[in-house]
Amino acid sequence: MGQNFQETMKFKVQKEQAADTKEILQKVYDALKQKGYNPINQIVGYILSGDPAYITSFNNARNLIRKLERDELLEELLKNYIEES
């Protein structure tokens, strides 16, 4: 509403969202690994509890994971798993 449709607009398509999720997950995974954690255990803990204390603040990983909604993250992971298998 009230937007100027004459200007160029950027639409986020599903594929791009998936790419963002993958990129963020990879960065978070790497940061956790570098800090000596079991990354899968930590990310599972985050998805279950929603508490960013599971994710290290190293390399901005905690802020990165906050960019993803947990339900969308889980949806992406499930979709990817089903499609890949």
Binding site: G36, Y37, N38, N41, Q42, V44, G45, L48, S49, G50, D51, P52, A53, Y54, R62, N63
Partner: protein
Amino acid sequence: MSGFIIEGGSKLSGTVKISSAKNAVLPVIAASLLTEADCIIEDAPELEDVRVMKEVLMSLGAKVSCESKSIKINAAPINSFEAPYDLVRKMRASFLVMGPLLARKGKARISMPGGCAIGSRPIDLHLKGFASLGAEIELGHGFVEARCEKLRGATIYLDFPSVGATENIMMAAALAEGQTVVENAAKEPEIIDLANFLNSMGAHIRGAGTDLIKIEGVRELKGISYTVIPDRIETGTFLVAGAITGGNILLENVVSEHLKPVIAKLIECGAQIIEEPDGLRVIGDGRPLPSDVKTLPYPGFPTDMQAQIMAFLSLASGTSMIIETVFENRFMHVEELRRMGARIKIEGRSAVIEGVEKLSGAPVKATDLRAGAALILAGLAAEGTTTVMNAHHVERGYEDIAGKLSALGANIKKIE
């Protein structure tokens, strides 16, 4: 007797760095007993409770050294299984050495714990957990002893989601044989932090932060270097400090998700809370709007923030109500706030706060840790001079509170 002298009326501004969490660092120090290797706790807060916990470990025979703000612990030489009464009576959290001692030495004897006199906090759930893991429990006059050949995994249902019991059971079960399941576990962030610490040491713990925690016992744990999470109660206290003084402060080193109910209440009362890349900003403006608060276990409104929010609501433009559901004796600050002009009535576990336009400075005394913080906050907003006696209560849980508030422009100094 030491205290704080506060000249009220200054609007706080600037940036404050929140310290590591007291309630996270104490169990992590206790958990260092689970390994013979070195554990280093970085950026540990310099608090009275931390000092007591270090002494408890040293009394057991552990080597503890400090450099800058790091604590290095080596528990290889522990030669005692008894935490002395003089230390345990000072601090309730010293009971947290029981799980690790039992797991490492097969025996632990601890005096009945002390701590702030805010209500009855039984240790029966800790003992129920140890008994389920196969320990024999003996209750004597003022002490409790547990012994076992080998702890074995079990399913333990906690009648109440006790933070201390969840932590103690997690630590004991980390070295037990087989799988332990804790049902109705506490969900506090400090539980997750302890799980992170233990998992980094090689433990297998899943589900921390939910009400079902699974611990797969391992044979041994290794030493690590670790930094605990920021203190959510100190964060909440400084948020109220910004709001109550009509100030504008940025809090660094915070996890805002740990404070959702406090942030929601402050916004409801008219304060602005803004998430910034470097932290959380609070902007206070005028008298707060009235609001009702009910304390609950996490993720509800924390009982550890009840006194501070009461100080804030005592200046609201209307009537508020606080219901304390966690502890039965946690309104001791009310009498002191009344001395400063607050209008508060107590009925059982409820407090009705009729907001006043101004509080006035008065000599008051901290009856416990959070009560002391609330009185300091009231003093910051009051007209005139407030003297908060019994600084030692406040120093149990707030690192250099006078220094941090002074740096934000408050007129506060500590007196010995």
